[in-house]
């Protein structure tokens, strides 16, 4: 952790003067199980997950479907309570609100509100007055390049523009934590690359904690300070890998770096093993060298 401390703007305790920064998010022995209706077997979404995330770091949760990545985000946001174990954000049980921004895969823009209205919606809990909310919304729409579409309705936007609007909505309250649930998974490949660079640029402007879920190995290595590899059934953390590739990573061809290629090969193999040995996967029992 050799990057400068960002200016704290929220109401969280200042970091202690110790060498090691205080963890912002702490999960200790967290388990979550879902009981589906009609007697289907219960799903162990997460079992005994322990994770600690420091100020200003970009952590990517990587793993095949069904490994509880999304559940973990919901637990951190306080949208779900854990069955056992403890979830602490800024040392307290998390409460959803302007301190944390959530970006969803399916955008989740309010269709009957304009783009500006959607961004302002997330500012209700910030204590800003009407004019300040408007100004803040305009500012973040400008940052994501949607200023011209502030008065448009979400239905008039392309997929990439919708996700930029959703990103502006999540960033506008200036949260200390940004939770992103496969935000670029339903966007075409071309736009996805631009959005990844856009996200890195925005994050360089204001370094919050980012907890980013993906099942794309490339995306994980490209964005992360730390890749947390998760496995399915029960959802659990397998290992965490530091990605030391220098930033800003949009300035050079990061995919050509030997370290990138090495990490990519390693993570690919780990995930393939997971999928082939998971009896609920479509690829269970296939030959190892297909």
């Amino acid at each position: 952790m050799n990057r400068p401390e960002p200016a704290p703007s929220g109401a969280f305790p200042a970091a202690p003067p110790a060498e090691k920064p205080m963890p912002i998010i702490e999960l200790a022995g967290v388990s979550k199980r879902f009981e589906p209706p009609r007697g289907a077997p219960a799903v162990d979404a997460l079992r005994d997950v322990t994770l600690s995330i420091d100020q200003g770091s970009f952590v990517v949760l990587l793993g095949p479907s069904g490994c509880g990545k999304t559940t973990l985000l919901r637990l951190v946001d306080g949208l779900l309570p854990p069955d056992s174990g403890s979830v602490r954000v800024f040392g307290r049980a998390p409460v959803p609100g302007p301190g944390m921004g959530f970006v969803f895969q399916s955008f989740r823009l309010v269709p009957w509100s304009t783009v500006r209205g959607n961004v302002e919606f997330a500012l209700a809990g910030t204590g800003l007055d009407r004019a300040a909310r408007r100004e803040r919304a305009e500012h973040y729409l400008e940052l994501v390049g949607l200023a011209r579409f502030a008065s448009a309705y979400p239905g008039e936007l392309s997929g990439g523009m919708k996700q930029r609007a959703a990103l502006a909505r999540a960033l506008a309250p200036e949260p200390e934590i940004l939770l992103m649930d496969e935000p670029f998974a339903s966007i075409d490949a071309q736009t996805r690359e631009l959005m990844q660079a856009e996200l890195m640029r925005l994050w360089a402007l204001r370094r919050s904690v980012v907890l980013f879920v993906t099942h794309s190995v490339d995306e994980a290595i490209l964005l992360a300070d730390r890749v947390v590899l998760m496995g399915p059934r029960p959802g659990r953390i397998l290992e965490a890998i530091e990605v030391e590739l220098p930033r800003p990573r949009w300035r050079y061809d990061v995919r050509a770096e030997p370290r990138f290629i090495e990490l990519r090969a390693y993570l690919w193999n780990r995930i393939r093993e997971l999928v082939l040995s998971d009896e609920n996967s479509d690829f269970f029992g296939r030959s190892r060298d297909f």
Binding site: D77, L79, P96, M100, R108, V110, G125, G155
Partner: protein, 246 residues
Amino acid sequence: MTIAIERLLILAGILAVWWAAAFHYGPTVVPDPPATLAAGRRLAADGTLLAALGDSALVYLSGYLAAAAAAVPLGLAMGAAGRLGKAFEPYVYALAATPRVAFVPLVIVLLGLGVEAKVFIVFLGAIMPILVNTYAGVLAADDELVEMARSTGAGKLRIFLHIVLPGALPFVVAGLRLGATIGLINTVVAELYTAVQGLGGLLALYGNTFRMAEYFAIVITLAFAGVAVTEGLRLVEQRFARWRTR
């Protein structure tokens, strides 16, 4: 623009069928279009039509507006009440499925044959489709948007006002349109079964005395009233759904 031409052609077809029927059955059963038009003009000129239209409109609008004013809040409350709303559900659906005309004799016993009874019969007809649709609209709330709102820290009331209610609006309007049509039917039913009055009353009068040209003029007036009401509500619906058409 072509649709207007096609519609005119269909109208011409309807008139042709009508004319053929008039020719086949003779003017004592089916009057031809000019005779009907002449009768309509006569009724309009001596004020009969306007007076009846006024009586019917009063009954219709009072009953319908009362139904809307009761059904929308009730449907919202039922949807918002969760378990309690679900408990009421089978009874509400049972009442919605019962032909409301079945209650006419009871209403007459309770309220007599006057305006109150008529308004109540319209109210009974219109309330259930509005209530059931409003309830369905609240239940159909987009869970993903609700979770998004929760993640911004929105409380229950804010989620209801900003996410659930606007989402339910198209259902409410669909219910209002259904209720408007059934309310119109019940207006005529009420005027036929209770004190004979309004457009329904004229139907009974001319039908029973075989003045078929006048009778047909009233039927066509009712058809126009129905079109006016549903078209009006369609315009209201479009206004509320600008985000979808733009």
